[in-house]
Each structure stands twice: as C-alpha cells, then as structure tokens.
Symmetry: C2
Subunit: 120 residues, 2 copies
C-alpha cells in the first residue's frame, strides 16, 4: 500500500479551470476535492449529502435563501443536505471540499455545469 502526503498548493497549481473540482483524497467513502471558483454558480441542493467548504485562499460568498455567509481564508462552512445554496466569488477563490464521493457539484440537477471529477 502506498501512503503519500498531498501538498494542497501544489495541487491547486495544476488546476486551471473554474468550477471544475478535482479529487485530492478519499477516505471513508468521502472525497477531499479541490476547486477554483470565480463568478456565480447555480442554485442547487444535495438530497443526501452534507457538504463542507473550506477556503484555502480568497473569499467566498455562500448564498443561502435567507442569508449570505462570507468565508475568508481559514474559514469553513457545512451546508446540510437539503439546503439550497449558491457559491459566488467575485475574485478567484481556492476551496477544499469535503463531501461523499457520490456528490454531484450541481446537486439534484444535471446541467451543462455538472462535472464528474477526476483525481489530481
């Protein structure tokens, strides 16, 4: 068995597209995913999966139906299953996601923004 560490910044340097999460680790049926976000995503929710957003650099505005929560570097938010959300980033933000391996980035909808993430 090969056990290797992952350097998050080195992985981010390989990502050159926004809204295109990549898998950086897997444990207990959950993925560690890394993504660069810029602009506004679509409203969506996940039927069964809670989702964690940890900001590694930049700033993320998580729009919920009743509030907007702004995350700066070193801050995280857990969006519980069933809760509609829309990530928005005025400037590029780097986020680490922790969520079940089955999670679709667009939630219950499959759209042209749906991606099936590869490992990085």
């Amino acid at each position: 068995m090969s056990i290797k560490k992952v350097n998050i910044n080195e992985k981010f340097a390989l990502i050159n597209k926004h809204w295109d999460p990549k898998i950086a680790g897997e444990l207990n049926g959950q993925h560690i995913r890394l993504a660069k976000l810029k602009g506004s995503f679509d409203w969506h929710h996940h039927e069964q999966e809670d989702e964690m957003f940890l900001v590694v650099s930049g700033q993320l505005d998580m729009h919920l139906r009743d509030q907007i929560i702004t995350l700066d570097e070193g801050e995280f938010l857990i969006v519980p299953k069933g809760v509609e959300h829309k990530p928005v980033a005025e400037e590029e933000v780097q986020v680490l996601l922790f969520e079940p391996a089955a999670t679709l980035n667009t939630g219950t909808d499959v759209t042209e923004r749906t991606v099936h993430p590869d490992w990085i």
Copy 2:
C-alpha cells in the same frame, strides 16, 4: 436551522492542551476535529476508520512502520484503516482531522490518553 461558519484559527486559540482533539464540525457521520500536538503519541491503528491529518501550522512527523512522512503547513495525509501510526511533533503543530465520528484517538486501545472529544 442555524448555519454558521467556523474560523479555524479562532477555534485553535481556545485549545490549550496537547493531544486533546475538539470537534469543530460534523457532516455525513464524519467529524472535523482540531488538535494541538506536541511530543510523541502512542502507536495505534483504527480498525474501521481511515483518518486524515491536515497540518494548519507547524510540522508533523507521521511515523508508519516502514517510513516517516513529514507534513508541513498545507499538507495532508490519509492513514488508511488498519495501518499503525504514531504522530510525533517536535514543536507544537496544529492539525485538522477528518474522521468518522466514532473514531477514538487511541485507535483500538483505550488508554489514559484516550479522550472523548467535546465540541469547541
């Protein structure tokens, strides 16, 4: 439902004991735990749980039976279930752990170093 962000550094500022993980988030049956480590822990393994160590500040030497992997800030390692490991930190290191909520810090053994973590 109350959805609140967590500032990792603010949480770490509340921790004043080594080897005493605190729960900072829960999702999908998994915990986000924060811990300050210094010195050498005991060899242990987890029967059913993979465990992730992400270094937030400082340096962590993860001893495995066949190698030592040194993690610096912004690096993470996943220790698969069943794999014996021993975290060692010469100076204080701040780590974020992802692991199933049921995970005991001392693995399959209950010792005087076993803690049942509280929320922070």
